[in-house]
Symmetry: C2
């Protein structure tokens, strides 16, 4: 048997990982990478920071060069080579040199598709006007740099406030532009639930970015004082010299589709858990494929670099006859916005509701390290779990420090199908600069465990209708009880709530009704838990309003 | 049935957690805490930083006051109350008021012992001299503060370089003292293996601390120019105005012992997994008890705040008839030394060897976040795992940033009995400031997984006898092959190694012997892995020298 001939279409993340792994597994294989662009394996997650001059040199973004692929791996990289057609019957592809237009035909034993995803350009009027960019490749960045140098824009509009949109907005501001950030959905960073991103929207505004959630793009017109006017569905005109479209990406599937490969319900290339397409000689990896959502089990599109690299390895294993399997994608992600860090893993509440998956949720706001050591800042955490067995379903964390530490533990917990009871028992690193004897992860476990063991009922602010915050009316509505100190209450109190400080609760039980639910709150939920335990043991129907006034403030601002 | 009467001896960490949890579980119980000192529930992990004025106010260290226990929990705290005797037959304790000497007798239904551990004062000549301190309680700190204010010492010697010793040395330097740090064992921070702490010993010296590993204390003498002379077993005299003994702690068991409770082989109070002692009405928690080592299964003493708090909760559960179990202690810990952070979880290599547990080890030195984003600093990681099934056994990480993120994931992985294959599949948070598409955790999984799948053999520098670094001699000795570039090799090379850059390896295979093992190294182990794969597939007996020249430097300095 001669050596295998493996052709890889696309040399970023998934394709590059696959190629390198293939060589390590099979020294004899012939391996080729075809890349439409002039570079392979560049760090596209760094592009916003390159625009913001945080990353100074273009060369820093080149993870591997064609020379390195040749010298280290004996892999031939053909840049500026677009694969235009797959002839599955003959196991051949047609390659077009994008500079000369010359066509060649290459045969394969195995073909790996890693075409990635293309930024969506919404089909609105005026979208073809000059000054409207997307940022996905180094060439995009080069074009934008040249354009900025020539045009010296002053006002930028970023359309879409996902990961890239947020990073772009910050980096354009860093460059000295006035920035408006538009988002069609009601809040920035739709990967998280609405109440969780409130501190970040506030921070964006404090930094001088105009944030417009719930603001859908209607089109563009040429402007006068500024080059462009961005039209919104509400009829506003936002003036801009420069516009970035960051409204998401779409799997790049035309080649696969034209070849008759199965496309999944979300529009990505369909693969099995060995990353094999509907053709047994063709594999596909990265942003172009549909993966199984680790939580819901549904097919989904989750374009992330880590999963793409993992898929590349698995495709290589499969091509070499190894039994590796891709377990699905959790959607673990993190983004920094000025001093704030936002991170998530697993499903958010919106998705669980959409999929009809039963869940309970908790909020907590612990300091990121021991409160007695200077510099502690709060973490805002939301943890979603199964009310049946306590299995974790998802988590979101927003804070200034200590976010990555906790989301990574929760991500690993999701992977191992851990429960909130496992979080209670976690033995994490504690020194006063790094955590607490009861780490935020433990605290999340305690709070959720208490609910599942029926030690305390949980209530949520979004279950309080405006009326139920009022003491009058029907008896069945919950009484909202504030157990903080008087001075805390003077600063802010939930309208319609009644007040008994925790220290006085045991002696003032007669002031509370036995026939109505009592929903207790404090600052973050700890004293309210103690109060709820006291009340429950005295026969009251008590519940802890999860996360206390801190959650209330986040939910109120929605 | 009347209400339960629970007495708790010791109000820090374990005792305080137990008391609070008891109240939440049982509103009717009578709960008393007896504390020898004047305060309950103070943050003793903060004491070194209080001495260094990083924590400014004494009150910040008071986690909870007797008033709070009374108001929130209806728990009575009796400070300055020493429990002098347990009368198990009558379920009574004798309590001495340490100020008045007055004795009282209290009866119990359940008794919880949380006496903690006492700092060891080695019985060497002169140990009773003035100016020789231990730091365990707030009172210790008060005494030291007063003494420093009065005596204005200039030179301090810290005996013992464990967590507390290291923190003390840094904080005394911060106060402007000249500091010498002595350690009997061959290296600082004996919780980690020797080669891992090298960067930190260098840092301590760079900061101006005199570090003396392998230096055992022989005694003290009064000095002349300085108050004291510290005598070492090597016959040196180190002058000091102030000495801290930080040579470890010993479980405080006299009360338990005198009452006839079972004491374990390590000298701690013996408890079952519900924290119950040999007397069914007496529980014990915290630094005074022996726990099961999560990795080795052996009884052990691991005095840490997190486990103590967890044990307190479990004792409370058990007293209230709940089935909670303590799963054992991993020994997860973290300490900062100037800009360096050292962390560990599970067993170290020394312990595995002592216990005869089969293990394999790997070293890796990845950047703490994407190398293309400014500010990446190396993590030095050592991961120990079972050669049979890949189960994790322990991990150590040393670095400047990103240490807590990774040790916490590995700690949780140990808890869930995860394997190195699970680390390969971990989906962790990646943005250029926080990680890499292939996170250091994934990389550890890949490296270990490659070994277990026999894709590459691993070799270690400490298996190279001085002779085997020499090319001459017997044929069976390994050839050491350097696959770095010529300019890298010019900077430093392992003596006796031969040199073929990775890019030239395929064309120069004829220069290598087929009948001798070839141990390959590069800078950190990545290129050497590629090289070893090439060699292995061409029939050579190749192995990757784990962690490359970076590990070599650490091991050489041992």
């Amino acid at each position: 048997m001669g050596s295998k001939r493996v052709l890889i279409v696309g040399g970023v993340a998934g394709g590059a990982s696959c190629a390198a792994r293939l060589r390590r597994l099979d020294e004899q294989a012939e391996i080729y990478i075809f890349e439409r662009g002039p570079e392979v394996s560049f760090a596209n997650c760094g592009l916003p920071y390159y625009l913001g001059s945080v990353i100074n040199r273009r060369s820093q973004l080149l993870v591997a060069t064609p020379e390195r692929f040749r010298d280290w791996y004996r892999i031939e990289v053909r840049t500026r080579s677009e694969v235009s057609r797959i002839d599955r019957a003959n196991r051949q592809i047609e390659v077009v040199n994008v500079q000369t237009g010359q066509k060649t035909v290459e045969t394969y034993d195995a073909l790996v598709l890693s075409p990635g995803a293309a930024p969506i350009r919404p089909p609105v009027p005026g979208v073809e006007l000059e000054g409207i960019f997307t940022l996905r490749t180094l060439e995009d960045a080069d074009r934008i740099e040249a354009w900025i140098a020539e045009q010296t824009p002053r006002r930028a509009v970023v359309v879409g406030a996902g990961y890239i949109g947020l990073e772009l907005a910050e980096n354009l501001l860093r460059r000295g532009l006035d920035v408006t950030l538009m988002e069609k959905l009601p809040h920035v960073l739709p990967a998280l639930d609405e109440e969780m991103v409130i501190p970040v929207e506030e921070e964006l505004r404090r930094q001088g970015i105009e944030v417009r959630p719930g603001c859908a793009l209607a089109g563009f017109e040429p402007g006068k004082s500024h080059r462009l006017a961005v039209l919104t569905e509400h009829g506003d005109r936002i003036l801009a010299d420069l516009v970035f479209l960051a409204v998401g990406v779409r799997p790049d599937v035309p080649l696969a589709k034209e070849a008759g490969l199965a496309i999944g319900p979300c529009g990505g290339i369909q693969v099995d858990d060995q990353m094999r397409t509907s053709d047994p000689c063709i594999w596909a990896v990265g942003d172009a494929v549909e993966v199984r959502d680790w939580i819901t089990g549904q097919p989904t599109l989750i374009p992330l670099a880590g999963p793409a690299a993992r898929q590349g390895r698995i495709a290589a294993d499969s091509i070499c006859g190894r039994p590796s399997r891709y377990r699905g994608t959790q959607g673990t992600a993190i983004v920094q916005v000025f001093d704030w860090v936002l991170a998530c893993t697993g499903a958010n509440e919106r998705k669980l509701r959409q999929c009809g998956i039963a869940y309970e949720k908790i909020y907590l706001h612990p300091p990121h390290h021991a409160g007695y050591y200077p510099g502690a800042t709060p973490l805002h955490m939301k943890v979603l779990f199964s009310p049946d067995d306590g299995r974790l379903l998802g988590a979101q964390i927003v804070g200034r420090q200590g976010v990555a530490e906790r989301i990574n533990v929760l991500a690993f917990a999701l992977q191992t199908q851990a429960t909130v009871f496992d979080l209670e028992e976690a033995e994490l690193a504690y020194a006063p600069q790094f955590g607490s004897a009861k780490d935020p992860i433990n605290q999340a476990g305690f709070i959720a465990g208490n609910i599942l063991r029926h030690d305390v009922s949980v209530a949520h602010w979004d279950q309080c209708s405006p009326n139920c915050l009022n003491e009058q009316g029907e008896d069945s509505r919950p009484v909202i009880l504030d157990v903080r100190t008087s001075s805390e209450r003077d600063a802010q109190a939930v309208p319609g709530s009644i007040h008994i400080p925790l220290g006085e609760l045991r002696t003032r039980l007669d002031q509370l009704p036995q026939d109505r639910p009592i929903w207790v709150y404090c600052g973050v939920g700890q004293r309210a838990y103690y109060a709820a335990r006291i009340l429950q043991q005295h026969g009251f129907q008590a519940a802890n309003l999860s996360g206390g006034l801190t959650t209330y403030r986040m939910v109120q601002k929605k």
